[in-house]
Symmetry: C3
């Protein structure tokens, strides 16, 4: 694996390998010194053309816990302001010989293009409405820890599927892991022909009680002014997940940040069924695993502790 | 001490302990390698909802000199833009299992609330008009170094006391250390009943010659449009500290950033009586001490030098 | 050398010494661990009052690869917003006892003034229309690697010479290294009397075929509204460097970021003659060399590898 551009590119075995690696980083996270020297002296560039707290801080901290040197570029206040093309920005940053470039960009396919312009490993941290593979991996990781396996698990993805790269990547990933997926939302927010990706479609929450997992999507306020929904209030009346709709055996997920009182009720967010905080914790170790697999991965090895040298060493090496 | 939420919470002995610790970090700061491994592999989150150079860079550098991994989140360009609640942001950041969260927020009581939502140690870096405890500690540190003790020292706090968390925290801290405090400013900018906190009130600078220390507050330009003062010029005419008003035995302090020519004259700022730069230097070592006491503190120990391992070691250990 | 404020201040021998040092850092950049411990435990402050990707990320990464602790302050979101004077900001940041302050500021002479206010080494990362010495050094480095020497090399600097600190610093540096410089652009954008700095002037590209190196400057879009040029289209028609104008033996340079289709055609940027990416790579090692020379430089020594201790050690020491 040279780049991580999409979930589409990954086989079930490759997904499992990343998740297994993430488990070993979860173990590192329980140590006093939550850090390994794997990427010491190597450079990771983080290049975000859209604002983000969760994804960018998660990748940044992942790089730091792998001891990489981080160059973090936000579109605002950068040459991007001066109209430099993406290609030229990548050429510039590539001149530092980074080991990896983590990129978020508003255009679908941006990460793929970047991979053609640089010798660095490219990680797609979200490209327009296309894909958000690290999100899908952390969600599969979270569910695998809870349920052991996704085989046969029924998952409903609820909300603005049309504009969501998370919906797209997760649908593909959940399918690949053997889950049975239903996408649910108002007809204006479900893309035509999505069944071909291998899912059921529901235009109401009727039937959601069959799901083991309910995955709610963020509802952008802009959708109202764009006439996709008549009002957030009406959307919430029909599609908000609350503790009355959720039964106690169901698990609740959301990619964050949440609009409290729109796609989820406050009670649901804070309920024991909610995996939202576990998802964020998973994000850190899964992103460490992604960087590790791309930059340092090899069979039968695990990250060493601080001070153990920069080469991967056998499983079980203490910190 | 689990959190640092206010000066109110600290006894004189606890304040002294932090200042003693800060002295040992001042010694580290005189070494070639101004760094200790105390927090290696631990994560410090810095979360600022208000702009800041001095406080945020000071905490960030303090964390780095303790070898922590730092996640620095500014409100602009973060999920905060997307309307995420403070509670959800804290849940997100807490999922990284940080050792400490340093927070500045425009609402009084924000840090206290955050402490209820996270397992991390919380440091209040300013909450609305309530408290700014690290500022008060660095000011006490600065004066203790100059004067040996604050016992019986007469301190005038001059300016916009009403809107100032610095005034509030410093008044409490100075009192606790045995100083005698007078607050001074136009009646519109002195809160009613402030005498109950243990201070004199003066509505003019008459009598300021009795003070050993004059502590000027920042005058926000907004106060003029809000009608608290008729004009900055009139404010300056009545309350500006300049070298004519200051006598050569008096010390001058200010929390920064200064409005030159408003609350202080340029000459006063640059005079040998001014402790303003010493205050900033104190900020770094006091914030190292705060993080140390919260995260690594124990009796009779001092920070080790680089390469001495991550455990606190006995006083006198060379770098 | 205490500060790097201008190219003007440097003799040919001093320039050569920095370039030689940069060569040794280029060797570090080819290692797995692209990092040396030279500045461990020392603090570098990066203070940018103008937006920048390339220069600021380059200095930041240079500081990190030297193992310094970095405090990066951008004007937006800092006390600068609150109207603090440059002098007071420098006093504040100097209180952290940084080894170096790297400053970009819109006023010519700002870096020089800063050097008078701080004990830190000051690096001018661009001051108004005055100088940008690290850019000139990286450009000389790039050409020296390609051509062996600049002695007698004919270089045309094309574009908005009037507003360009790059043009000014490069003209001085190229001259000092023995090159023969022509500046070229519309009369409105060539400063009167520039010949006195030691160059020819041309108001058209006629004759550019004699150059071994064509150095194109960035054309600011603002120049059109300011009436310096009638339109970018007309500017491009007369002064754009494209592959028809460039002959295959000529080298092409640009300080970046490029306006594709204005001062350079896309084809020219991407041609094998273009050194633009090499310039960026040179920027990193030259800036490491600048920080090294100011903070750790001494005769006959070279940076040690990671783990070799923080003192400079003899040439050839492995990492």
């Amino acid at each position: 694996m040279k780049h991580l551009l999409s979930i589409e590119q990954l086989s079930r075995e490759e997904i499992e390998a990343i998740l297994d690696r993430a488990e070993s980083f979860a173990e590192v996270g329980r140590r006093d010194i939550k850090k390994v020297p794997t990427l010491r002296g190597r450079t990771v560039v983080s290049l975000f053309y859209e604002s983000s707290t969760r994804t960018s801080s998660s990748f940044d901290l992942a790089a730091k816990r792998l001891s990489a040197d981080l160059v973090s570029v936000k579109a605002a206040g950068s040459s991007v302001d001066k109209g430099e093309s993406l290609k030229d920005t990548i050429a510039t940053l590539s001149a530092y010989d980074p080991a990896a470039i983590v990129i978020r960009h508003p255009y679908a396919g941006a990460a793929q293009m970047v991979a053609g312009w640089t010798a660095a490993a490219v990680v797609n941290a979200g490209d327009g409405k296309h894909e958000h593979p690290s999100q899908a991996l952390l969600d599969v990781y979270t569910l695998r820890r809870r349920l052991g396996s996704l085989e046969g698990v029924r998952i409903w993805i609820v909300g603005d599927v049309l504009h969501s790269r998370v919906a797209r990547s997760n649908l593909i990933a959940f399918n690949r892991m053997g889950a049975e997926v239903t996408v649910c939302g108002p007809p204006t927010l479900i893309p035509r022909g999505i069944e071909e990706l291998g899912c059921e479609v529901s235009y109401s929450l009727n039937g959601v009680e069959e799901a083991e997992v309910v995955y709610a999507l963020r509802m952008q306020k802009e959708r109202m002014s764009e006439s996709f929904v008549p009002s957030l209030r009406e959307y919430a009346a029909n599609f908000q997940i609350d503790t009355r709709r959720l039964n106690p055996r169901q698990l609740l997920m959301h990619p964050g940040p949440v609009n409290r009182g729109v796609e989820l009720s406050g009670e649901a967010i804070d309920s024991p069924q909610s995996l939202i905080t576990e998802q964020v914790a998973a994000g850190l170790v899964v992103r460490m695993a992604i960087l590790y697999e791309l930059l340092a991965g090899s069979e039968g090895q695990t990250p060493a502790g601080e001070g153990e040298g920069s080469k991967p060493t056998p499983i079980g090496t203490p910190a």
